[in-house]
């Protein structure tokens, strides 16, 4: 054994450590499935995701509700009705209708008149 200087002996020390073996894969199963988040962090993370989707869903819901409301509750012929109310129909001033009040005529137009007929007339 020739170990004259420090470097030589240090090489042997390295070999000394390398001589120690471990069964193959002895620690390989460790450190693979570790959940790094704390419990509170996990909760917060889920909460963040939920909030994001919740807000997006609420927006969509509100927009669709508004659209449906417009479709459902706005009178289909509201524009036409307004026009009828505002316009002086020639028919009102014709002879046969002289005895009718304005309200009666409007009532008549709204309830009994076929709208297609009025449209044709207009």
């Amino acid at each position: 054994m020739n170990m004259k200087n420090k470097t030589d002996i240090e090489k042997y020390f390295e070999k000394m450590a390398d001589a120690y073996q471990m069964p193959e894969g002895y620690f390989e199963h460790l450190g693979k499935n570790f959940d790094w988040q704390t419990k509170s962090e996990n909760n917060r993370k889920i909460f963040k995701i939920n909030t994001r989707w919740l807000v997006a869903a609420m927006f969509l819901l509100l927009i669709s509700l508004g659209w449906f409301a417009k479709q459902q509750f706005m009178p289909k012929n509201s524009l036409l009705n307004d026009t009828i109310k505002r316009t002086n129909f020639p028919v009102v001033n014709q002879e046969n209708f002289d005895d009718l009040s304005d309200d009666e005529i409007i009532d008549y137009l709204e309830n009994d008149t076929d709208m297609d007929e009025i449209l044709d007339y207009l």
Partner: protein, 177 residues
């Protein structure tokens, strides 16, 4: 693979999760603290388990004044020393020859006669110098890391190391004659 963790995050975890982290990420380091002390793989495995039990029992009382690994390192060293003390009771000689024989018979030791002589010379060093050796070569730590772990200056650490090398060289020269 070790992932460094903020001690504040570590403190938030439950005891079980803290232990899970320690077992997964410090097993290998602690094993290489214990193995060169108790020599055989079988012994190292037993002592490592005892070390984890002790860590589990005392982790609640750990005040985080020192580094977590320093604290675990101390436990591992003490457990190894206790193990060797218990073994000495069953041994006929002072224990060094017995340890070398154990090492020879260990299937997980791959050293030749020269390396066994070095092991023998290492066992004759004072405990502190042996400790520095183990940390430098078996745990593959740098001088600065060892100094931090043992709370001594790098200067005195290097002095101890060189003294140990000198002693080993003397020992081997004597053996050569």
């Amino acid at each position: 693979m070790k992932k460094k963790i903020d001690i504040k995050v570590f403190k938030q975890w439950s005891l079980e999760k803290q232990m899970e982290y320690i077992v997964q990420y410090y097993s290998k380091d602690l094993y290489w603290v214990i193995r060169p002390m108790v020599k055989t793989h079988e012994n190292a495995d037993d002592v490592l388990q005892n070390t984890f039990i002790k860590i589990y029992k005392n982790l609640k009382n750990f005040r985080y004044d020192s580094r977590l690994f320093s604290w675990m390192y101390r436990i591992a060293v003490n457990e190894s020393l206790n193990f060797l003390k218990k073994q000495k009771k069953h041994l006929t000689t002072d224990g060094q020859d017995e340890l070398i024989n154990l090492l020879k018979s260990d299937p997980y030791y791959d050293g030749d006669e020269i390396l066994l002589l070095l092991e023998k010379a290492l066992l004759k060093l004072p405990p502190r110098q042996q400790e520095i050796f183990r940390l430098k070569y078996f745990s593959r730590m740098k001088f600065q890391e060892i100094a931090d772990l043992l709370s001594i200056s790098v200067g005195s650490l290097k002095a101890s190391y060189h003294l140990a090398v000198k002693k080993i060289k003397n020992e081997l020269n004597l053996l050569d004659e």
